[in-house]
């Protein structure tokens, strides 16, 4: 059976000392750091981040149980909350005083629920009665209140990517008030209400912190609400409801993800996909909010793929405790000791591991039968290029060979993305050329994502190998090439010469010259000099190629020299002469070239005619019929004299 686990835990997890009675573990979503605090910090605090740079170890005095501990961005200042009234700070900037300083919350009788760093020196305290926004002055060891807002708070959530704090207010907790922070300013955003499945009577806190998560998906901030199955509503299972939270304007309920089951869930965001873990079945589902569901109401989504568990994971026994002969231990997935953090973090505090959740694209190919939908899905993923190219190869041959309409759909989808990129690139170039002064400064160079599959990718990885296959009928090969060319044309993308070459090669190998002829007749293969030359080379096997090639050179209108060469090589000296005259190039052509060709024919009258014609030209241009030494025609003059005598030469006119 093909590999089906499309989710996996990162290969190299962040390892830390697991939680115990003497070791408290904290996780900071902003810096993605794990803090292992032993004995309140007295015997050491070990901070492990996603890379070695952000890992630190230090000691601090044990001044009571640590409730929350976080570095400011860039590990400049450490904030530690030990009581419900205040937060302590320690400088980590070299040369600054290291002694702790403390800030109490301003609101009387309020208790601090927690705090969030929004920059290297700005911090927000969230209390049960509101929020307080401070600037920290590490040199002065003091804080300045920038702004505060009183509001009853049940709990809060923080999205570090967007620096938005979401507060749960009202008795039921379902009115959410977001605040955005940027450069010392605090903006109150529009509050919104989460529709609860059941309204409790009497009113009590119903919306749990666990059922809300914030994350950015496709560059937009969403609040995700895990709406549990209720017996009263006739929904078959739990749902995830997405509320779109724009920077400005009202928050709107935008998507509903159908989980079709009930139980305990957890959410992650990976590569813009929403991953829903289901603990009891030990499986996960993924949703793509950009994927349109034809058979569902507008923004209702079904899982993209059938539910599968995360790829089995074995804990490598490394470190000092490792015994070389001992095999890696399988890790228990979906363990109840797991904690899930946004966007893609899974922590097992009891085992001391932090993993990043990852999507593996190859298994999705076999799980998603609808190739059009598969393409839509893959084109939005980060590392999609090779998988997409392998899908293209797959639908062209092998057991999963698709029909032409499927092939066409796939090509159209690829080229749509390709075209959008080309257009963006073009308008960027145009803006750059018109000068940055004209408002072009704001325009960013478009990023070429992996989803941009251009003609050379298709040629190298898919088409050239495909056309070499002997077990595929040439009819199908040609149909596929034409379909690709059609799709490019439909998207107004200039087709590259090597694709035409592929078409011609395939047609010629199968002796389908008349087909080639018809394609050229309708300009399916666009004119170019290389193509005209390729056609010329086919003349010996297919004589009409000569005419096709000349026509093409003529249409190019920049290939007059080539036309003359072709005609001369065919010994059509007069034709060449007439042609060059008709395009007005007669005065500049090399007489020698024509005379060489005329002499080669062995036709003396032809030689005479051509010779005289050039003498007339010389007369007209220079007032003298003789050739310039630079034209190297001495040999031909001698030949002319020998054939027709001295007196046949045109004399300089005396007029």
């Amino acid at each position: 059976m093909a590999e089906e686990h499309y989710l996996e835990l990162s290969e190299n997890p962040v390892q830390f000392e697991h939680a115990s009675s003497v070791n408290n573990v904290f996780f900071d979503e902003a810096n993605k750091q794990v803090f292992a605090v032993r004995s309140g910090g007295a015997t050491g605090v070990v901070v492990k981040g996603p890379d070695d740079k952000s890992s630190v170890a230090f000691r601090m005095d044990d001044k009571g149980e640590v409730k929350c501990i976080k570095f400011s961005i860039g590990n400049k200042i450490l904030a530690v909350q030990r009581t419900s009234k205040s937060v302590d700070f320690i400088n980590f900037i070299p040369d600054y005083p290291h002694t702790e300083f403390t800030q109490e919350c301003k609101t009387k009788n309020a208790s601090v629920l927690g705090f969030c760093w929004t920059s290297w020196n700005e911090i927000v305290f969230i209390t049960d009665q509101g929020i307080e926004f401070y600037q920290v002055f590490p040199d002065k060891r003091s804080l300045k209140l920038l702004k505060s807002q009183s509001i009853n708070v049940n709990w809060y959530q923080y999205c570090p990517e967007t620096a938005v704090i979401l507060l749960s207010t009202t008795v039921q907790g379902n009115v959410l008030q977001p605040f955005a922070f940027r450069n010392g300013t605090m903006t109150k955003m529009t509050k919104f209400e989460i529709e609860l499945p059941v309204v409790p009577k009497p009113a009590k806190l119903t919306l749990s912190e666990r059922d809300i998560a914030m994350a950015t998906i496709y560059g937009q901030l969403y609040v995700m609400y895990l709406k549990h199955h209720s017996r009263t509503a006739n929904s078959p299972g739990a749902e995830v409801v997405l509320y779109h939270l724009p920077r400005e304007g009202a928050c709107k309920k935008s998507h509903v993800l159908k989980l079709n089951t009930t139980g305990k869930f957890a959410l992650n965001i990976v590569d813009n996909l929403i991953v829903v873990h289901h603990q009891s079945s030990q499986t996960s589902l993924i949703f793509d909010i950009r994927l349109k569901e034809p058979d569902c109401a507008v923004n209702t989504h079904q899982p993209v793929l059938p539910a599968r568990s995360i790829h089995p994971y074995r804990i490598p026994l490394s470190g000092p405790a490792a015994v070389p002969t001992q095999p890696p231990v399988p890790c228990q997935l979906y363990s109840s000791s797991w904690s899930v953090f946004q966007p893609d973090i899974i922590i097992s505090a009891s085992e001391g591991y932090l993993w990043y959740l990852q999507v593996r694209l190859p298994p999705t190919v076999h799980l998603l039968q609808d190739k059009g939908k598969l393409m839509d899905f893959l084109l939005r993923r980060r590392d999609c290029k090779m998988v997409i190219l392998s899908v293209c190869s797959q639908i062209l041959d092998g057991q999963e060979k698709g029909s032409l309409p499927v092939v066409a759909t796939v090509f159209d989808k690829l080229n749509q993305v390709y075209k959008e990129y080309l257009e963006a690139e073009q308008s960027y170039t145009a803006a750059m050329e018109s000068g940055p002064s004209r408002g072009g400064g704001a325009q960013k160079r478009p990023v070429r994502t992996q989803a941009v599959i251009d003609q050379s990718d298709m040629y190298t990885h898919v088409l050239s190998a495909f056309t070499e296959r002997k077990d595929v009928s040439h009819k199908f090969i040609i149909a596929v090439l034409m379909e690709y060319i059609r799709s490019l044309n439909q998207n107004q993308i200039t087709v590259q010469h090597y694709l035409y070459e592929l078409v011609i090669k395939t047609l010629v190998q199968n002796n389908l010259f008349y087909m080639l002829h018809q394609f050229l007749q309708y300009h399916v293969l666009s004119d170019s000099k290389p193509l005209a030359c390729l056609l010329l080379s086919l003349e010996s096997t297919y004589p009409p190629a000569h005419q096709l090639s000349l026509d093409m050179l003529k249409r190019l209108s920049t290939a007059n020299d080539e036309i003359v060469e072709v005609l001369l090589s065919k010994q059509q000296v007069l034709g060449a002469l007439r042609f060059i005259r008709s395009v007005g190039g007669h005065d500049n052509v090399s007489a020698r070239k024509f005379l060489d060709a005329a002499r080669q024919t062995g036709d003396q009258m032809l030689f005479y005619t051509v010779f005289r014609s050039f003498q007339q030209r010389n007369q007209r241009l220079r007032g003298n019929p003789s050739f310039n030494p630079g034209e190297h025609c001495e040999e031909h003059v001698a030949h002319f004299k020998q054939l027709f005598g001295e007196q046949a030469l045109m004399k300089p006119s005396t007029v």
């Binding site: 199908f476 034409m482 018809q518 009409p544 026509d551 249409r555």
Partner: protein, 473 residues
């Protein structure tokens, strides 16, 4: 000379048409066995034998002068005979009566008849005879094939069956240069629409894998041929001069006209079969299609010819004759092709109208010309009116058409590129140009034009109409 009665003109007409094989009755008294087909059939036996004998003798006699090229035609005062040996020892002979003028005489004397011996062109009628054979071969295969499968009896039967009908459709008076070319008119189309048609053809051939070849036409003009050029040439001739005209009349008829075929209740598309079943819903419908023979790698292959049309778009699907075509297949084809072809036809029509609007229909000067490219058999004529089932109308006088034919003969004689300019009796100028494999004939009506002006005029035509091909000035 004012005379009461008018001169009476007679156009060339078919006197007789026969096919023989001298090896079939070599002995005295068995001459009749040589004759495989004779039109008109009511001619007395001995006269048939005599005529065949005469032809045989002429061919034999002339062979002594040039063994490789026997006589092609015999000119006499009253008629002209054309000889053609399509397969070894099989001869087709066509006898055409020269056009003539009957001049009534005074005093009740019998009128005198003036034969116009020089009016007929060998090239034109020679081509007509060859076409007769090609058409026979398209539907029956070679003479040799009939001989192999059923002997002389079968061949005679097949010839009888085919030529009896076919000769009635020969209209010798309207044969001209176009018959010599036997060209194909291509439908002008933009690249994108053409690619859509390609895509359509490929998809149909993929899903109905029985289909071996496909040809696509619009407005009786060819767009795509999966057949080789020579086979397409004769099939095109059949489609445009016989099959399509037969079916166009009902289409032109009004909606409620009894001529109009019953729309089969399918409102989703306009597709219908031009060969085979007229109405798929008819329980009595027969699923028999005409069979054609086309060249294959090893001789000939026999194919069913399905012609399916939606509005102005026609698709010909060819399927090996070994397969029996069923109602299910036809329904499948109708269901698949009908809607797509309808859509495609309206796409093409729309595109065509746009292109016409861009280029401006009246912008181009109204030249009368015939163009032909030997390489791809492309022909274009602004001289000929639309062909109908019966006649091919030209808009110029037959004398001018004859000059065109004469120039064509001159071109055929040499390989070089040439240009011939003729001043006709009637203030017309006729210009013939030959460049590589292409020929162009232009008729200009400029009363006082001189040679230079005529030359300029033709250059102008080339620049507007043929600027995208390499055509030497």
């Amino acid at each position: 000379m004012a005379s009461g009665a008018q001169d009476k003109q007679y156009t060339p007409s078919l006197l007789s048409f026969f096919i023989y094989n001298p090896t079939f009755g070599p002995r005295e008294g068995e001459e009749e066995k040589k004759i495989l087909f004779y039109h008109p059939s009511e001619i007395e036996k001995n006269e048939k034998i005599r005529n065949v004998g005469l032809c045989e003798a002429i061919v034999q006699f002339t062979r002594t002068f040039c063994p490789t090229k026997p006589a092609k035609s015999l000119h006499t005062q009253k008629n002209r005979q054309f000889f053609f040996e399509p397969e070894e020892n099989f001869w087709i002979v066509m006898v055409v009566r020269n056009p003539m003028i009957e001049k009534p005489n005074k005093d009740g004397k019998p009128s005198t008849i003036e034969y116009q011996e020089e009016e007929l062109l060998d090239t034109v009628y020679g081509a007509v005879v060859r076409q007769c054979y090609s058409m026979y071969k398209l539907f029956n295969g070679t003479f040799g094939r009939a001989m192999e499968s059923g002997g002389v009896e079968l061949l005679i039967q097949k010839l009888e069956k085919f030529f009896y009908r076919y000769l009635q459709t020969l209209h010798l008076q309207s044969c001209d240069l176009l018959d010599v070319f036997g060209g194909i008119s291509f439908f002008p189309l933009d690249k994108m629409t053409y690619l859509k048609i390609q895509s359509f053809v490929n998809r149909v051939e993929e899903s109905l894998s029985l289909i071996k070849y496909t040809a696509f036409l619009y407005n009786d003009q060819l767009i795509w041929s999966g057949l080789e050029q020579d086979d397409m040439r004769i099939l095109y001739k059949y489609l445009t001069t016989s099959l399509f005209p037969r079916h166009s009349e009902p289409e032109l008829a009004g909606r409620d006209s009894p001529l109009r075929p019953e729309v089969t209740g399918n409102l989703l598309h306009y597709g219908r079969f031009l060969t085979g079943p007229a109405n798929l819903k008819d329980p009595e419908a027969k699923f028999r299609f005409p069979k054609i023979f086309v060249s294959a790698e090893d001789g000939y292959e026999e194919l069913h010819l399905i012609v399916y049309k939606a509005m102005s778009a026609a698709a010909c699907f060819m399927i090996s004759a070994n397969v029996e075509l069923t109602r299910e297949f036809c329904e499948q084809l109708d269901g698949l092709v009908g809607p797509q072809l309808t859509l495609l036809a309206s796409d093409i029509c729309e595109q065509f109208t746009i292109n016409r609007r861009i280029s401006g229909p009246e912008k181009e000067p109204q030249f009368k010309f015939i163009y032909f490219n030997h390489m791809n058999l492309a022909e274009k004529s602004t001289i000929h009116m639309r062909k109908t089932a019966s006649v091919c109308l030209t808009s110029v006088h037959p004398d001018l058409m004859k000059i065109l034919g004469d120039i064509n003969c001159d071109f055929a004689r040499v390989d070089e590129d040439e240009e011939i300019i003729v001043k006709a009796m009637t203030d017309y100028w006729v210009v013939g140009k030959k460049s590589d494999q292409r020929e162009l004939y232009v008729i200009l009506n400029q009363k006082n034009a001189n040679l230079i002006e005529v030359n300029e005029e033709v250059k102008r035509l080339c620049a507007t109409q043929f600027n995208n091909i390499f055509f030497l000035d």
